[in-house]
């Protein structure tokens, strides 16, 4: 029978986390947009909406604990609730990093244009795509896709190193651009962290599907 009491609650939980995922994706994407397009109003919006994301996290926490306490989920249902409970704070932290990017945008946008952000948009795009794929892989319980995304994190790490070096050179060559460049360094760091968090989400997707913890292991 597919209409167990717990099914209704699991469906609500699933809806909520997908909403949270969408909101987080949007926050990252718009935060970068506010930087690249120098749109401070957009940045302010992102910061405002972070409060909504925090609320969603609290609701999901409450519901997942309630399901565990009252419904005694087992096997797949259990792994699902645990995955949701662990992915939710990760998404909230990704959103926080998006907020920090928006903060940085507010400052950078006032400074003169530092460079045409060649690698930035690519780094940002990779991160946003990875996040979207990770959320799809969660919905579809796609362990293979999750493993591929974990591999892609290496690309972000490489981009980060390149951007870091370029910005350092820039600060040396053009001391007037130091403030802007320093803030951009932080933005790059935030993007790199977002990549790491997406990797964590993918490890949890694999747990959900295969009941195996691949975190902290060199073999995937």
């Amino acid at each position: 029978m597919d209409h167990r009491i717990i099914d209704q609650q699991l469906d609500v939980l699933r809806d909520k986390i997908l909403l949270l995922g969408g909101a987080t994706e949007s926050a990252v994407q718009r935060a970068m947009q506010s930087l690249v397009e120098r749109d401070s109003d957009l940045a302010k919006q992102v910061l405002e909406e972070d409060k909504i994301i925090d609320q969603m996290e609290l609701e999901i926490d409450r519901l997942s604990i309630e399901i565990l306490a009252l419904q005694h989920p087992a096997a797949h249902d259990l792994r699902f609730v645990i995955s949701v409970a662990k992915i939710t704070p990760i998404l909230e932290r990704i959103a926080d990093h998006a907020g920090s990017i928006a903060d940085a945008a507010l400052i950078i946008n006032i400074e003169p244009l530092v460079k045409n952000y060649v690698d930035f948009p690519i780094m940002a795009q990779t991160a946003t795509e990875m996040l979207r794929s990770a959320l799809d892989a969660f919905t579809n319980e796609d362990a293979q896709l999750s493993r591929e995304i974990i591999e892609r994190d290496k690309e972000i790490d490489k981009s980060y190193k390149r951007v870091f070096n370029e910005l350092l050179e820039m600060m040396i060559d053009n001391p007037a651009a130091t403030t802007g460049a320093a803030h951009l360094l932080f933005v790059a760091k935030h993007l790199e962290r977002i990549g790491d968090y997406v990797k964590d989400i993918c490890e949890l997707n694999v747990y959900l599907r295969e009941a195996a913890f691949i975190k902290h292991s060199r073999l995937i």
């Binding site: 029978m1 597919d2 167990r4 717990i6 005694h72 989920p73 087992a74 096997a75 797949h76 249902d77 259990l78 792994r79 009941a211």
Partner: protein, 252 residues
């Protein structure tokens, strides 16, 4: 750890109707194994083949091997009385004898001639009652009728009675199903304590009880053994879909 009980090719018939199909499993020493499954799946019937209690049913027929400590208990010439001393049983509804608390526990000791003196008998009765976590509640009224005890206490008395004959294996057929939650908890704690010294097999219709107390779980459906695994695997990531459906409540 050696296997205390090893079952293979076990088929069971009530007259012409087959109730168990080709069951095979091994029960290691000093562990708790739980048998779960929907009503009528054969778990109690299977439990009762382990101490030949099904012999009391005239149309019952067993075909296959149940090897305990290296000997097949269905071989002709098996001493069934000695088997039942070694493999004790506690039943779903407690069934104390209409005798005093002391005499209930002493019965098994007396008929098996285990004790060496009156003092020895008293000591053994006390030990059994202590092991069943009942001594403190009854020590001042050993000569009163067993029926004066509450349901949970009567069940612990039945456990003490079984322990008094010094079995090696204890079979429990839904021992807590007639009890309230607190009495149930006491029985469960007792099971976990007892497994230090005894091999325990417990049939339960309550999956959570199985997940709380057992080391391994066997899932039966319609007379067949569907899955037998360590409990932590069974409840987090079972191998068979049917098992998963059962433990997540997907069947009516």
């Amino acid at each position: 750890m050696d296997n205390k009980i090893s079952v293979s090719n076990l088929n069971f018939f009530y007259g012409k109707a087959q109730a168990l199909y080709d069951i095979a499993l091994d029960i290691p020493e000093r562990e708790v194994v739980a048998f779960i499954g929907p009503s009528g799946c054969g778990k109690s019937t299977f439990l009762r083949t382990l101490n030949r209690m099904n012999d009391t049913i005239p149309i019952a027929r067993v075909d296959g091997n149940v090897i305990i400590d290296g000997e097949n208990i269905y071989a002709s010439g098996t001493d069934v009385v000695a088997l039942r001393r070694k493999v004790g049983m506690v039943f779903q509804k407690s069934n104390p004898f209409p005798k005093s608390i002391f005499e209930n526990v002493a019965y098994g000791i007396r008929i098996n001639g285990i004790h060496s003196s009156k003092q020895d008998l008293n000591d053994r009765v006390e030990k059994a009652l202590r092991d069943a976590a009942l001594w403190n509640e009854v020590k001042d009224r050993l000569n009163t009728s067993a029926f004066g005890l509450s349901g949970g206490q009567q069940q612990r008395l039945c456990i003490a009675r079984a322990l008094a004959v010094q079995p090696e294996v204890i079979l429990m057929d839904e021992p807590a199903s007639a009890l309230d939650p607190i009495a149930t908890q006491k029985i469960e704690e007792l099971v976990v304590e007892l497994k230090r010294d005894y091999t325990i097999v417990i049939v339960t219709h309550n999956m959570h009880q199985a997940s709380r107390v057992s080391d391994r779980t066997a899932f039966f459906m319609l007379g067949k053994l569907i899955e037998y695994n360590k409990t932590e695997k069974m409840f987090q990531n079972p191998d068979q879909k049917m098992t998963e459906d059962y433990i997540t409540g997907r069947f009516g």
